[in-house]
């Protein structure tokens, strides 16, 4: 048996769908039409055709010990809420988190791909894959999804957060749909509600302090508040009053879930502090 040590080439050989276009415009070439008929999982929304399930807003901010990732729990298909318990912040390995937005189907496959690919590398070569190597792996799978994304399915945008053991600092990387990678100094956001809150991050950094100088509670409070604003301004984002969001941290000790109690008390404190301010003032 031929040994490669590389999951991608293995999967290409076995014809696994992650390496191929689902829409298939570059395979038979018979029809490059934009209408894709697939079974519809949820018929409750108006309008014909297949509507993909999408994850909404995810946020990554630095804090003094590393990086915090926060995401609401909603997944939508068109105007329908598909699921209100989705997990959009996922551990890839001990020090790498991926927050996903956009196509759920593709993103979950990519998470599985990366997990397996990193493990395969480590076990084969008896060393962990370098940060640069991990970033390239992610770019590769994002790129492979472009043909489908252009046809309207499978497009997703990840944020990759990690803890750099050499520099003793958190790192945040975000991608565009074509696989271009950017490193952010303070924060990253993706998903339907992210454009609405983009400027708020800058406002916080300029008027309060940089996220990387905040302690865990401060940074978490800002991230949750941002999520709340995204939910106010974006119809698809779930917010946190009904279902608690998901929050994870990466520090030198690895990845940890922020406990539910802590999240609940922070959410309650945010709501009691700011909740009333956005209501119209009645004398």
């Amino acid at each position: 048996m031929e040994i490669t040590g590389d999951l991608w080439s293995l999967l290409e050989k076995s014809g696994h769908p992650i390496t191929r276009s689902v829409a298939g415009n570059n395979q038979s070439g018979a029809h490059g039409s934009s209408s894709v008929t697939l079974p519809r999982p949820n018929d409750s929304h108006a309008g014909g055709g297949f509507v993909e399930t999408h994850g909404t807003t995810v946020i990554a901010v630095k804090y003094d010990k590393g990086v915090i990732n926060v995401g609401d729990r909603r997944a939508t298909a068109g105007f329908s809420v598909m699921y209100d318990q989705s997990e959009k912040v996922l551990a890839i390995d001990e020090y790498t988190l991926m927050a996903i937005s956009g196509s759920f189907a593709r993103a979950m496959e990519v998470v599985r791909y990366l997990r397996t690919s990193f493990k395969l590398f480590e076990r084969t070569y008896l060393q962990t894959m370098s940060l640069e190597g991990k970033l390239s792996e992610l770019a590769k799978v994002v790129r492979a999804g472009i043909p489908d994304a252009l046809q309207g399915i499978g497009g997703f945008i990840p944020i990759l957060s990690t803890y750099d053991q050499d520099d003793k600092t958190g790192r945040i990387f975000f991608y565009d749909g074509a696989g271009a990678r950017f490193e952010s100094t303070e924060f990253g956001a993706a998903g339907s509600g992210s454009t609405q809150i983009r400027g708020v991050f800058d406002y916080i950094v300029k008027t309060k302090k940089p996220f990387h100088d905040m302690n865990r509670e401060e940074a978490l409070r800002e991230a949750l508040t941002l999520l709340d604003i995204a939910a106010d301004l974006d119809a698809a984002t779930g917010g946190f009053s009904k279902v608690l969001p998901l929050a994870k941290t990466i520090s030198t000790d690895g990845i940890e879930d922020v406990p539910e109690d802590e999240l609940r008390s922070l959410v309650e404190s945010i709501e009691s502090t700011y909740g009333q301010r956005s209501l119209p003032h009645r004398p």
């Binding site: 048996m1 999967l11 599985r112 493990k119 076990r123």
Partner: protein, 264 residues
């Protein structure tokens, strides 16, 4: 004209060649304990106990190139299976029975290829202690499943002595007890290997053995003191209660040190 005799002879030549090449290998001991499974051996420079997948590890005696070939194939097959199906579907039984054994058998049976020189010991950590198991895979593709206690060594005599020393499997023993027992079994196996190397015969009173006049425990001590000067004790664990996705870890030096400090 090719006769059955030629076939038998050819096979037995190949068998002799591989057996001879395996003879000097440092034995490997596999044991279950209350928290999981362990593989123990003493090595020179090259690592000997490897992680294969989330719940699987492996060690072997033989030629390094063949060990590496089997190791890499195993890892690759397990990861492809784990991705295309699920990590729960990766099993030693499939890995050994469906992939490795046929390949080894083929290589062993083909007259004009070099046979694999390897005897491998795989370990799989199950959901419960009762489903923990070992697989011993031989160079000719033969394999067997064993529970509780498993060994590989360069000769049948060495393996017999090790199994005798290990006795009945005891899945409820502590890790410390299991390690001590495994080290003792390694020692008796490695002594047998050494005895044969310096000319001792299979069933003969070992007149050449310099340690023949002292009792077993003392002989172990003297032998281990000497072996651990140049060799390094290596222990791989599959821990059922691991708080990680992978249950494998190598026992760190600090724990090794407390185990072997009496042989310093």
């Amino acid at each position: 004209m090719y006769s059955p005799f030629d076939f038998n002879e050819a096979i037995s030549h190949r068998k002799d060649y591989v057996d001879e090449a395996l003879r000097g290998g440092s034995p490997v001991v596999g044991l279950t304990y209350e928290g999981g499974l362990l593989l123990l051996t003493v090595r020179r420079d090259q690592r000997k106990v490897y992680e294969i997948y989330d719940r699987h590890m492996f060690s072997a005696i033989g030629k390094q190139s063949d060990i590496e070939n089997v190791r890499l194939s195993s890892i690759q097959i397990a990861h492809q299976e784990g991705f295309e199906r699920s990590p729960d579907d990766v099993s030693i039984q499939r890995l050994v029975g469906f992939a490795l054994s046929p390949a080894l058998k083929k290589a062993f049976g083909e007259q004009f290829t070099v046979p694999f020189v390897i005897k491998a010991l795989f370990a799989e950590s199950g959901k419960t202690a009762a489903s923990d198991l070992f697989y011993v895979l031989n160079y000719d593709g033969e394999f067997r499943q064993v529970h509780g206690v498993a060994v590989v060594a360069g000769s049948q005599a060495a393996e017999d002595k090790m199994l005798e020393r290990l006795g009945e499997p005891n899945a409820s023993q502590s890790r410390e007890d299991a390690l001590r027992q495994a080290l003792s079994a390694w020692s008796v196996g490695a002594r047998e290997v050494l005895r044969r190397q310096i000319g001792g015969k299979e069933d003969e009173e070992d007149l050449l053995n310099p340690l023949r006049d002292i009792d077993e425990a003392e002989a172990d001590g003297v032998f281990l003191r000497d072996e651990l000067k140049n060799g390094k004790l290596e222990v791989g664990l599959l821990e059922r209660r691991a708080n990680r996705e992978s249950r494998f870890r190598l026992l760190p030096d600090s724990d090794i040190e407390s185990l072997i400090s009496e042989y310093r």
